[in-house]
Amino acid sequence: MTRLSGHLVDTARRLSFTFDGRAFAGHPGDTLASALLANGVQLMGRSFKYHRPRGPIAAGSEEPNALVTLGRGARAEPNTRATVAELFDGLEASSQNHAGSLQRDWLAVNDRLAPFLAAGFYYKTFMWPKAFWEKLYEPVIRKAAGLGALSGLPDPDAYDRGYRHCDLLVIGAGAAGLAAALAAGRAGAQVILAEEDFRPGGRLLAEGGLLDGRPAPDWVAEVAAELATLPNVRVMTRTTVFGAYDHGIFGAVERVSDHLAEAGGGVRQTLWRITARRSVLAAGATERHIPFRDNDRPGIMLAGAIRAYANRWGVTGQRQAADPVAIFANGDDGHRTAAQLAAKGVPVLGVIDPRRDAPNLGGYETFAGATVTGTRGRLGLTAIEVTRGGRAEWLDCGLLGVSGGWNPNVHLASHHRGRPVWDEARLAFLPGPGGPAGLIPAGAAAGQGGTAEAMADGLRAAAQALGDLGIAPAPVHLPAAEAEPARQEAFWHVPGKGRAWVDFQNDVTVKDIALAHQENMRPVEHLKRWTTLGMATDQGKTANVTALAVMAELTGKAIPETGTTIFRPPYTGVSLGVLGGGDTGRGFRPTRLTPSHSWAEAEGAVFTEVGAWMRAQYFPRPGETHWRESVDREARAVRAAVGICDVTTLGKIDVQGADAGDFLNRIYANMMGTLPVGKVRYGLMLREDGHLYDDGTCARLGEDHYVVTTTTANAGTVYRNMEFARQCLWPDLDVQLISTTDAWAQIAVAGPRSRELLTRIADGADLSNQAFPFMACGAITVCGGLRARLFRISFSGELAYEIAVPARYGHALMARLMEAGADLGVTPYGTEALGVLRIEKGHAAGAELNGQTTARMIGLEKMVSRKKDAIGAVMSRRGGLASETRRLVGLVPVDPGAGVVPGSHLFAADAPQDTAHDQGWITSACFSPHVGTMIGLGFLENGEARMDEVITAANPLEGTEAALRVVSAHFVDPEGGRLRD
């Protein structure tokens, strides 16, 4: 069809696109909907429940019917509103939610079954037989439900995230928003103007009015041009502000390349978190329809949408240009549409208006005191029934515009659960109290819907915001708008037989509301949940207020007494891709690498995750075919010779200050202040509730200087808790804290030949047992003068050290130790062997320190000093903790070949295996090369008193069970002689 005059589409350029495989052409400036309408296509989708044929009713993001799938393959995007999809060359769209073709959808049988599918029907049936729900009913329902389909393939596009800060965020670039942005921009405020459309102007592009005697889009272009010159103003088109969060934070999505055939390697969309000191909500208004019998056919649209298609896109929605157009309206606004269409030469049948004193603005017939009471046309409107004074007549009609008044887009104003208030004069809900602080509604969103009113209200809002911000205003001249008749009368639906749709997408009719009323589902929320009204993709934008009015009529109450409706984020649907934007693959969260990572990689290490860290798990050697072989070899090497392992991941906190010792006495359950300079002590940390939460060593490097080590997992928590103690509990202590975890590469050198190895690199330091005994620490140099810290501590139970050098040398130090110790049998070992060594020694680690256990449970209650106060000391002694009988024990299988499985539960040998008889669980297990069998650690009731008892470890989850003997948790050198030699 040829376009009407005066549109904003670039008809000089042609864009090809397809819909359900059929090729069409449109132009830059078109949406998919405007281009399809221009091609005479009305039918674009099917409704959710009854699969009724549907066409667009709107020209904006509120569209509930014309949902299509854009693109294909991994880029297929379901449920896209054709009314906002910007046309580009090569666009592919397909209709959705039908079985068979869009024209012949066999699921439309549901429409025939509609009486059985009334509101809430599924709550009343499908209960028998019981097993059939998951097997039969639910799969059938699920298959029929849903709208479009995801491809099931990973989203191939890139998304970005960003943060912007401004003095004033203006939401919406229509009459009010442009005026507000211009005023604030000229005044020098930092302004962001966000517009969901690809073109600023809002309804000014759609209304067909004049400003200062020129087409309104000309003024829009002038303002946009001026705003572009202001460095303090940023205009963001294709950007939807979808949510208002606390303290002036807004979520916005910018569709960066959705309108491009090729994204060129750039991002698809960007999520902006905008922090604004003040905001103006100039989001406009959404027209509402009037339910009447069979009001859902393709070709029945909102009258304002018809006006928009005619003025902005130069198209009307009939299938043939000669088909007559009618308007059904309860106010003057509908008459404006008719007059404009008539002036553009569109055949206008007339305006059907229930008001007896309905006006006539010229160029069409007015059917005063009349209503539309029926329609015909299976896949598109062909005729309407007009009833006047009890007389009905059918009239041929190819397009019907419906106008029931306008609902201000109050959504963001109610995102903080502030309730909109009813304005009887405007027949609309306006933003109420309790809106986001600093958000000023303006223009149609505030009920000021006329062009002149809206512009003036935008200025008022800007002035208010500037006043709040302490910025002096600058003058703005507003152009004169034409008079716009806007009288209306409340008229909510046409009563009568048949089905009259209120919520199009979810197929909720006036009858469904009446049924909800009959069944006492009358509170608005019950109504919505019982009927699914307002739960469709438009979130009730086109339905809620009308439904409320119908319910009010049924209950005989006024609308505000019946309820109100609030909205939650997002304003329109936001893709999960952009919400979760950025790195979602391996870069999803940071990865921490140890200083010797690349060395370990070169050595062929297999890595494992520990917290955010990647650690070498074991180092397979040629000929080893199973990880156990490698681990056994590594563990044996430590017990027999010497092994080296990067233990940098343990947290390190540098503690300095005159009161550092006193402070650490309060942090650790055991005494730390008495530690001599040059010594290390093992320590336990409790939560204030008395439970154990971390352990590690504390080294005193100087009179006022300690280094605390934490477990890898708890480094951050311990630091935070220490800062809490320092700042909030004991602010008068002289203590300074700082983390140094990453600064030092710390290498464990463990095994009977560790001293020998270290001596070779220690620049002549005396490491003899006398000079540097067990639990000594000190500064030395290694490898020709590199500063280092040496700690004689042991996790393996062998003679062992940890040596720390600046992290940049960690890699080289590992290599040097390997070189220097080649003749000693030096062996790198990973976390698996580390685990074997510590289990053999009975040391607690993460599985034992899981936040549910106590010092008593791991047999260290004596470390909780009674001589001083420390965090958790008092609470560790209360009844429930003091009477705890579970103790950490060692476990070995009675049958040497049997397995020991962590996570098994422990039972007395002859006890029934159920919750009531559960006596504990296995925390850790491994094969012990030293013992020659699997061994385990576990918590067992009265464990200390049950040495040598044979118990049962049950693992019903995997169908295994083992007889285990209870032994001491110290499988190796229980006297601790080796580590002191």
Binding site: K130, E134, R142, G146, L147, A149
Partner: protein, 416 residues
């Protein structure tokens, strides 16, 4: 009136004129034997079981808004009994068994769908912890199954197995877990209680507790004073506020948990998946929306709404786990107020005030607990003794040090 397919056919053919109100809207009586404060899932279930199982009469449920307006109407609808500790697991398994017969019992289709749940495993240490949990479930009579990586891949091929920051190494599965239609649960219990004579009184906010001589004698409400022999409080989210009327402080903080649903989509995800490492869980509703959530916002709140940072965090987790959802659109988000207790487990107990009973502290486990919570609370109210599966949910367990701390997070409610 009994609901059935036959009835539906009859009504459909006669213009639906015969459907009766799902419940009455009675005015409050001057006095009841038992007043339940809170017309949410737990309060309604309590009233239902008091009337149906424990033979109590003269019961009222007082609801400040509309029936089901609390967390029963704003959650992610998951039911499961996959707990670790002996204080919890038997209780949740009892709840699961009640779910399994609920719809027939209530004559209301709450769409209990046992589609299973998969808790993903990413490390060896996590597998050990889940094995301990799975065994605890089996020992309590629940079902549980441990899958390896291939097992998970066969079942959920669309997860990110090849480019994941947290590689999937297995999963703990409970096949009997699943989802239920949350509103349907509230309505089913409400209708069942109403049919057994319970007065459901909406728009009736309790503004005070009448306590004389250390015993509760009634409540003050926005609809006038109501006498009561016993008062049971089941107002999760507002427990601290209501119990403050009795001068009590609770080991509870109120926190907001956000939840999310996408636009409707054809069937895609046929189970419930939890991704602990990415703070994300998801299922798909019968209507087609992907229903998902993550962590609580983390600060005390009564505002029933959360903030953007958490929205992003949850969506990031979802994208990392299943990048196929990138082109689905978030339709709606909402926030519910959780009673976050100091050990992450609930309280069903008497209080120091004679006749005043408390059901609170559900953290985000409240929905799945609805049947057992109602049953156990009714048991306590009717008999004065805790139900055997809820015996550990005592108010004094904190002082005694007998905590039920599944996560081992300590007295830090926002970590549970």
């Amino acid at each position: 009136m009994r609901f059935s397919g036959l009835r539906l056919v009859k009504e459909a053919l006669t213009g639906h004129r015969g459907w009766e109100p799902l419940w009455r809207d009675p005015d409050p009586q001057p006095r009841y034997d038992i007043v339940i404060v809170g017309g949410g899932g737990h309060g309604l279930a309590t009233a239902y079981y008091l009337a149906s199982v424990f033979g109590q009469a003269r019961i009222a449920v007082l609801e400040k808004g509309w029936i089901g307006s609390g967390n029963i109407g704003r959650n992610t609808t998951i039911i499961r009994s996959n707990y670790l500790l002996p204080g919890n697991e038997p209780f949740y398994e009892f709840s699961m068994k009640l779910w399994e017969g609920l719809e027939q019992e209530l004559n209301f289709n709450a769409m209990v769908s046992q589609r299973g749940i998969v808790n993903l495993i990413h490390t060896d240490a996590q597998r050990d912890a889940y094995r301990r949990r799975g065994n605890a479930m089996r020992l309590a009579g629940a079902d549980a199954e441990l899958l390896d990586r291939d097992g998970v891949r066969a079942r959920l091929p669309y997860l990110n197995f090849d480019d994941a920051r947290f590689p999937i190494k297995g999963g703990l599965v409970q096949s009997r877990a699943g989802t239920a239609r949350h509103d349907g649960v509230a309505w089913g219990y409400a209708r069942g209680a109403d049919r057994r004579g319970v007065d459901l009184i909406q728009n009736c906010e309790v503004t005070g507790l009448r306590i004389e001589g250390g015993a509760v004698t009634g409540v003050e409400t926005t609809r006038g004073p109501i006498g009561a022999g016993k008062v049971g409080v089941a107002v999760a989210g507002s427990s601290s506020r209501v119990m403050a009327m009795a001068g009590m402080r609770l080991p509870i903080e109120s926190h907001v948990l956000q939840a999310f649903v996408t636009e409707g989509l054809k069937p895609l995800i046929d189970t419930v998946i939890t991704f602990g490492a990415g703070h994300f869980y998801i299922s798909q509703s019968d209507k087609g929306g992907l229903v998902f959530g993550g962590d609580i916002d983390g600060y005390n709140s009564y505002a029933q709404r959360g903030n953007l940072a958490v929205v992003e965090d949850v969506a990031e987790g979802g994208m990392a786990l299943m990048p196929m959802i990138g082109r689905a659109r978030l339709l709606r988000s909402w926030g519910g107020i959780m009673d976050m207790s100091m050990d992450g487990s609930p309280i069903i107990d008497r209080t120091p005030v004679e006749g005043l009973y408390l059901n609170a502290g559900w953290c985000y486990g409240g929905f799945k607990a609805t049947p057992a919570s109602g049953y156990a609370f009714a048991h306590l109210l009717a008999t004065g003794r805790p139900h055997e599966t809820a015996a550990a949910y005592r108010l004094d367990r904190f002082a005694r040090g007998q905590l039920i701390d599944e996560k081992g997070a300590g007295a830090q409610p926002n970590l549970h």
